[in-house]
């Protein structure tokens, strides 16, 4: 009878005759044999030579088989070392105590060669099974460690990209996100535009793990790059959608809400593609306006079919926008009931202190679900005074040696261009070549943006700014704006920029003209400069931020100057 494998087998038996008999049987079957005459010797032999299997007599002097079995099992730890008790015991109780001591099987005297070989074989199968399970368990544990480490590294890289914005420094943002949200596909980004507006994106990629994380990187790059350059939501959304459509497989996409919060204009512009309703909470009235999903997620539609239409809502100081991921409403309790929209509404209704809402939602989720999910993302952004918000200084990489100082340029943008194209990022980039202007780039951009939108909306499109007096009119105003723009046939906006050196410094003159009907300049100029209204053509903003602001040609031509002194 040839064994499959050669095992090292320990025989613990106080009878020299039995030891000899068993040894010779096992050797004939091809195994290596170790022997011990009592329990102490057996434990000692095991410790020194770690046999694969033990044949153990129950009754032995010095230390009996039960105790020796216990000690050997303890020494073996997780490794299975089968112990077969050799016994002439026949009482049930004695046999049971063999098993309790850690024995795996019995062999009754007198010994039968065939049964002994079969039992060794069966035990060997068990031993291998255990070894395989342990090996696989260790392998899985190693892979898991490896994966976690990879995630740590990937997250560190991603954090550099994703958190290059103002999420952690802006005083008006509170947010909650699992540290490993990236691997659930949740993404939260925030950054200032050059004019001091704030762009915020809360996104949720389909799927989990690495695939969900992969798309986040290019999305963050587009978001930060375009926001910093002064692009609006529509252009940024188009670029994000086109990029994701190009790089992601068909079944992957990104639900997202993108906001532009304007502290100057006191408004929020919203685009929601596939995210749960966000909320605009008006503190004065306690009213909550839903920011519902009106679009397909990013990365689904082709660039041609993509819809970048946004909604604009007025805000008052202290008003807040609250966004959440579906992890919030999909939180389930022990009975698999959903927290749901209703759960969220209940928290809203019971809220008395707007500042406490964020904690109350978290508390309600904890009370409801019992265990935290790692795909719960929430963010709350409040509207503060522009002075309370300090956008970080822009970082420039060039030395300024080749800065142009004496030039002028003029653009005329006609109807077909006005419909789709936003010239502001290009103008701003051009002006940032002038080093002396960089310190005022925020004010400069705000003024340019106001002048341009005045010329377009009130000039070319002929929209009445008094419409924006109340919240309902505000929404109507932006609907009209879109409708008029779609229907636009002719008209123009001209932008003239002139940079001239003055001593050590210089002067920028901006003139913006439009083809509209103009307005009553004298009446508008009579209004106090610091009057804050939803309407009012941004005239007071332009007069505060620029120098020598003036209007001519019945309001069809606006001119404003920026000066700078010698650079240090």
């Amino acid at each position: 009878m040839q064994p499959q494998v050669q095992l090292t087998i320990l025989i613990a038996e106080d009878s020299a005759a039995d030891r000899l008999l068993l040894s010779s049987i096992l050797r004939r079957q091809g195994h290596v044999v170790l022997t011990a005459a009592n329990g102490v010797e057996a434990v000692d032999a095991f410790r020194r030579q770690t046999p694969h299997l033990v044949l153990m007599d129950a009754m032995m002097p010095v230390m009996d088989g039960f105790e020796a079995a216990r000690q050997i099992k303890a020494l073996a730890g997780e490794t299975l070392v089968p112990i077969i008790f050799l016994t002439s015991l026949s009482e049930n109780e004695a046999l049971a105590s063999c098993l309790e001591a850690g024995g795996d099987d019995f062999l009754a005297k007198p010994y039968n060669q065939v049964i002994l070989a079969a039992k060794i074989k069966a035990m060997e199968r068990l031993r291998r099974l255990q070894a395989t399970v342990l090996e696989q368990r260790d392998q899985i544990a190693r892979h898991h460690d490896y994966l976690l480490n990879e995630q740590r590294v990937a997250k560190a890289v991603f954090d550099k990209v994703a958190h290059s914005g103002c999420l952690n420094v802006a005083p008006n943002i509170r947010y909650l996100q699992s540290p490993y949200a990236l691997f659930n596909g949740d993404l939260l980004l925030a950054a200032f535009t050059p004019s001091g507006d704030m762009h915020v994106l809360l996104g949720d990629f389909t799927g989990h793990g690495l695939p969900a994380a992969v798309g986040a990187m290019p999305l963050a790059e587009v978001f930060y790059g375009m926001t910093a350059k002064g692009y609006g939501l529509a252009e940024t959304l188009r670029e994000m959608n086109a990029k994701l459509k190009r790089i992601l497989p068909v079944d992957m996409f990104c639900c997202a809400t993108l906001l532009c919060l304007s502290f100057q204009r006191r408004s929020v512009e919203v685009w929601n593609g596939g995210m749960p309703d966000g909320y605009l909470h008006r503190i004065a009235s306690g009213e909550r306006t839903q920011l519902a999903a009106r679009h397909l997620p990013l990365g689904v539609l082709s660039p041609e079919a993509f819809d970048d239409r946004t909604e604009v809502l007025p805000m008052a100081l202290g008003d807040r926008v609250f966004l959440l991921s579906d992890g919030v409403i999909d939180t389930r309790d022990a009975n698999d009931r959903l927290f749901g929209e209703q759960g969220l509404q209940r928290v809203f209704e019971s809220n008395r202190q707007p500042d406490a809402l964020f904690e109350e939602v978290q508390q309600a989720l904890r009370d409801f679900g019992g265990q935290a999910r790692d795909d719960v993302s929430m963010v709350e952004i409040s509207l503060l005074q522009p002075a309370q918000i300090t956008p970080p200084a822009l970082v420039y990489s060039d030395s300024g040696q080749s800065c142009p100082l004496d030039w002028s340029v003029s653009f005329e943008l006609r109807a077909a261009t006005l419909k789709r194209f936003n010239p502001l990022p290009y103008l701003l980039q051009l002006l940032q070549e002038v080093h002396g202007l960089r310190a005022q780039s925020g004010a400069l951009y705000s003024v340019l943006a106001e002048l341009y939108s005045n010329a377009l909306e009130h000039g070319v499109l002929g929209l009445d700014s008094s419409l924006k007096r109340d919240a309902g009119g505000f929404a109507r105003y932006y609907q009209q704006r879109n409708a008029c723009l779609d229907a636009l046939q002719d008209g123009y906006v001209r932008v003239h920029l002139q940079v001239t050196p003055t001593g050590e410094g210089g002067c920028l003159t901006i003139r913006v003209e439009d083809s509209g009907k103009g307005f009553d300049v004298a009446r508008v100029m009579q209004r106090p400069v610091d009057d804050i209204r939803l309407s009012g053509r941004g005239v007071s903003l332009i007069r505060q931020l620029g120098r020598n602001a003036r209007w001519s040609d019945d309001g069809r031509s606006a001119c404003v100057e920026f000066f700078w002194e010698a650079l240090a």
Binding site: T206, V250, D251, M252, F253, P276
Partner: protein, 99 residues
Amino acid sequence: MSVISEMSQDGQKLTISIKGRFDFAKHQQFRDAYENKELAAVVVDLKDATYLDSSALGMLLLLRDHAGGDDSDIRVVNSSSDVRKILAISNFDKLFDIS
């Protein structure tokens, strides 16, 4: 079987019925239901679907792509109010005929 596909007699209409949770676990079965078939009209029957997650939305997009993208003719029928809500949030009614 939790995903059943049935071709109409004339070979013009493929009906795919989903039973239980429509999530990533059904990925392979759902693909098998329409791959290697000539697709004219497709009906996805969600009468017995209890839940639908974002990977199911992805699977529907794959089916749409396979059936000709913008030229595809796919109807999603018998969706429960919960399921319909998920489809509505994602604005999938702009891509599919949902009832």
